[in-house]
Subunit: 312 residues, 2 copies
DNA sequence: CTGAAAGCGCTTACAG
DNA sequence: CTGAAAGCGCTTACAG
């Protein structure tokens, strides 16, 4: 148990003992057993992270932020992909609870109260990522509504007469962006405009399809807000195929500012979202809670930035 | 301990006992403690997965395959991003070893023998993903060399006189593709052709830069093999910016067949790689080994497919 | 089919 | 600064 002490905090042990222990550890290739440590200390050094998708680069970068924050502190992640399904989210939360994680980081609100109570009972702290919505709970994100509003206002200011909207997945964040966007159009005296919505998962390919559908429904459309950059890229490709000049004939605006947006031809106007920072700061908040140094602020709004480029 | 039995395998217990146990479990919201189970049974139901990158969609899809295979069997993943660094890989392997994983799945060969011995000593089985190289070890993948060869042969057959090559990251798999590609050019009586290589991480943006560098070095270049689709997309964007007609003035070929390749304008010729299947089959192989039913074959070659489209 | 005993490898809390 | 004792919550192996 002097060994146990030396491994956890070398300063608790005399230099002589430390040296002998270090030597033995090296000679034997000894690796402490975390299961035993977890059992004895009631600290697993595991953090459960739930994201709605991994094919969306946004969440991959969020995970990178989380990892960069918790890795140096010696925590490992249990990463779960909910596929935007509340049921799957509940299932993953219970499965992870068996591993006694020290905390949870979740992107996408959990609607089902069943799990909420499960969690409360478990006492495992949870920080929401992206959604600022559940007041009174820990959250790091930004206002999807304001971001959508910024885009609507931009298109109106740019002179769009009949802007359209295309969206996939229709998760709550997308719908919040839409709400802000529509509000901006209203404020600018524009109608709600044509919209093509589908619950299908988002993809570049789908962007092509939705753009065609939009133009079929509203041939006089002169701008389109795509609920994310993948869709925007597909829309751009489709315009190129149809010989529609972007932005002259049709302005295209995306969302997230994924790496390709800046270098597409034309480059894509979009909203840069602080996804890496959301992951990092949410993880930092969680670690502070776990380690008993909870921040006074329970919500952090990281903001966003409209990036105007060539496409609209 | 009848409870323990009922939870692991209900058939071991009488229906009456089972019913009472189920009722109690529900009433209490009881969740078994995996740390205790791991400690007592020497089975963690944890699998360590090491990939070189998560910003590359290839590995994200590989992880999806792994997850879809091991999830139903009740295993959780510890996912580590090595960032193409052998040192980081070694570090992650030791860190994960402390969690006593039942197995490892690794993309990218581990060069450092130090860890190899560590692993051997631990007795934790490991299956390589993508690389078929280490004979005598478990592996699921395909021949990068042959895939590169198929591209070289295709460009030559298509009439390219001076094909170029651009590549980033320069990991072993990329270099194997290059070797096969160069061999095909040689066989077709073409010189090795201009090449722009950089160890920088791959990105769409970098594709733009490398294409410009290639054309600066070899203005008479009439085709380019980009070591992956991200680079190919960047190259395509850059051609559009420079008003270079693809494929008339310059043919572009990528690698992986990421979702956007099929819908770009023009659509991108590439090699479809079985990345989801690599993950799934590697996981299946590992599970069989872990569960004492090791397959007789220790290597599975999943092949690849050249997908000829508009860009070259 | 059910149960009492021992132990997995650590950590905690308490003595020295 | 170091050590003996007890226990974390399960599972294994052995009796009944």
């Amino acid at each position: 148990m002097t060994v146990s002490r030396a491994l956890r905090d070398p300063s608790l042990v005399s230099p002589a003992a430390r040296a002998r222990i270090d030597a033995a550890v090296h000679a034997l290739g000894y690796i402490p057993n975390r299961a035993a440590s977890t059992l004895a200390s009631a600290r697993s050094k595991l953090i459960g992270v739930l994201v709605p998708s991994l094919s969306n680069a946004v969440f991959v970068e969020t995970l990178a932020g989380v990892q960069d924050c918790v890795g140096p502190a010696g925590y490992q992640l249990l990463i779960g992909n909910t596929g935007y399904s509340p049921a799957r989210q509940a299932q993953l939360l219970s499965a992870y609870l068996a591993h006694a994680p020290d905390g949870f980081l979740v992107a996408g609100i959990d609607d089902s109260n069943a799990i909420r109570e499960h969690l409360k009972a478990s006492g495992v702290p949870l920080v929401h990522m992206f959604d600022l919505v559940p007041r009174g709970e820990w959250a790091v994100g930004f206002s999807q509504r304001k971001a959508g509003h910024a885009i609507g206002a931009h298109l109106a200011a740019r002179g769009a007469r009949r802007p359209g909207f295309i969206a996939a997945q229709l998760d709550p964040r997308t719908m919040q962006r839409r709400a802000g966007y529509r509000r901006a159009l209203r404020e600018a005296g524009l109608g709600p405009g044509p919209e093509i919505l589908t619950e299908a998962p988002s993809s570049v390919d789908l962007g092509c399809t939705l753009l065609r559908a939009l133009l079929a429904q509203a041939p006089d459309c002169d701008a389109v807000f795509c609920c994310n950059d993948d869709l925007a890229l597909g829309a751009l490709f489709e315009c190129q195929r149809l010989k529609i000049d972007v932005p002259r004939d049709l302005a295209i605006v995306g969302f997230n500012d994924l790496p390709f947006a800046a270098v597409a031809t034309p480059s894509i106007t979009t909203v840069a979202t602080p996804r890496y920072a959301v992951g990092f700061e949410a993880a930092r908040m969680l670690l502070r809670i776990v380690e008993g140094d909870a921040p006074r602020q329970n919500r952090i709004d990281l903001g966003f930035e409209l990036v105007v480029r060539e496409s609209g």
